[in-house]
Symmetry: C2
Subunit: 247 residues, 2 copies
């Protein structure tokens, strides 16, 4: 699975041309941690990055394992999850292009994670990235702000898990995917849902069957339309928002 390949090694003082191709073409530069950096710093960062291409279900991290890498998702999707001793599973989050994997950790990963469909990652050795933090306070500031946002999202998810009904959960989930698509500049009324029903269930604290039944009901009521290739059409976002019980 580890098809890691070094990206080049820029160490000059630097114009945009110094950046490796994979960074210059990167479609999520303005979203990822890279957004906090100037070109010189980007070159330094790219020097410690390696690139990784994954397929559905390829593992990325394993709960309890020593955390020596952090990642940026550049294409595809990733799911984070935790397991109980008897196998019950909770998906704690999905990551999409531009999202960062590795803020929440001590010496060891606190969750497992794997690719959802074909996925590309940018991998950074954690020690080296941390060393860079000392010299780039704005990078640290950015990580703090990302952590803060993740915490806010986590609180929303607790509200969902603890207090929402199955239908509200599903609508919140679709709405969330829609918002994130919008923030990546995509059409918010057509969302890509690359994960399986059981992944969704494990994310929402439901079973596969309940997820499926509620999809059917939403379809019947005309709230959603299932398209080809895991795309879902949301013709009336306001309606979805109401069903999700969001302010």
């Amino acid at each position: 699975m580890d098809t890691a390949v070094p990206i080049s090694t820029g160490d000059k003082l630097c114009a945009p041309e110094c950046l490796p191709e994979s960074c210059r073409n990167c479609s999520v530069r303005h979203l990822a941690i890279c957004a906090a950096l100037n070109t010189t710093e980007m070159v330094e960062l790219s020097g410690i990055a390696s690139f990784q291409e994954l397929q559905n279900h390829d593992p990325i991290t394993s709960e309890g394992e020593v955390a020596d890498s952090v990642f940026n998702v550049t294409a595809g999707a990733v799911e984070l999850y935790k397991l109980l001793p008897d196998g019950r599973r909770q998906v704690t989050g999905f990551l999409f292009p531009g999202d960062f994997l590795g803020i929440a950790m001590n010496e060891r990963y606190s969750y497992s994670s794997e690719a959802v469909g074909n996925t590309r990652l940018c991998r950074f050795p954690r020690k080296k990235l941390e060393a860079m933090l000392d010299r780039m306070p704005q990078l640290e500031r950015r990580l703090l702000s990302m952590a803060s946002n993740e915490l806010i999202q986590a609180q929303d998810q607790m509200l969902l898990l603890g207090r929402k009904t199955a239908k509200e959960k599903l609508c919140s989930f679709l709405l969330n995917l829609s918002k994130r698509a919008a923030s990546r500049g995509e059409d918010p009324s057509v969302v890509h849902v690359p994960m399986s029903r059981s992944d969704i269930g494990d994310y929402l604290g439901l079973t596969t069957e309940t997820v499926s039944r509620n999809f059917t009901q939403l379809k019947t009521k005309g709230v959603i339309r299932l398209l080809e290739g895991g795309m879902v059409h949301l013709p009336d976002l306001e309606r979805v928002r109401e069903l999700a019980e969001e302010a």
Copy 2:
């Protein structure tokens, strides 16, 4: 409610004596954000702090309100919560002495919060604290590490809310209180539970009645003993851990 009182105004170059009394006597200095600072910095920090004394249910922050203060809990307890439009409530966390309130926020508070019982807070104007961050990178580092730990806890709470049974939830909750008591140097087998059954229910995604019934069952099985003044005795922590399904 706002009985804020300035703490003094040290601005010298400084020995421990420069610290205001309330800081010198503070029992949570080694836990709070203050732990990252030397005396000089502490004096500066204490210069922007004010001190607040609250009673049960006194509000601290309100979801959606402009976030101009952050807080350190120095005594008592605080609960954070979010509401759905129809009044359903999810408690997203409890804070105890040494805990920090205000990592997870943008321009506005993302949750409401109130005192649980008699509580004391150290309040910092957010803008001033942020200004200090520029000059004290180790403070920023500390906040990042606190945020990271909160995220890990949030993920554990998602696992609890999404996948655990009522009894497992309650045992996990008690175990968590026990761990936190231990980290403050208290006896882990006697935990203080200052919050009501319905607060606990709103934290665990259960109703008051279910919490109460499960307390009774645990009592009957001898796993817990209810003492005076909201204290709970856990004679066999290993047993609680098993019932909580924790590794």
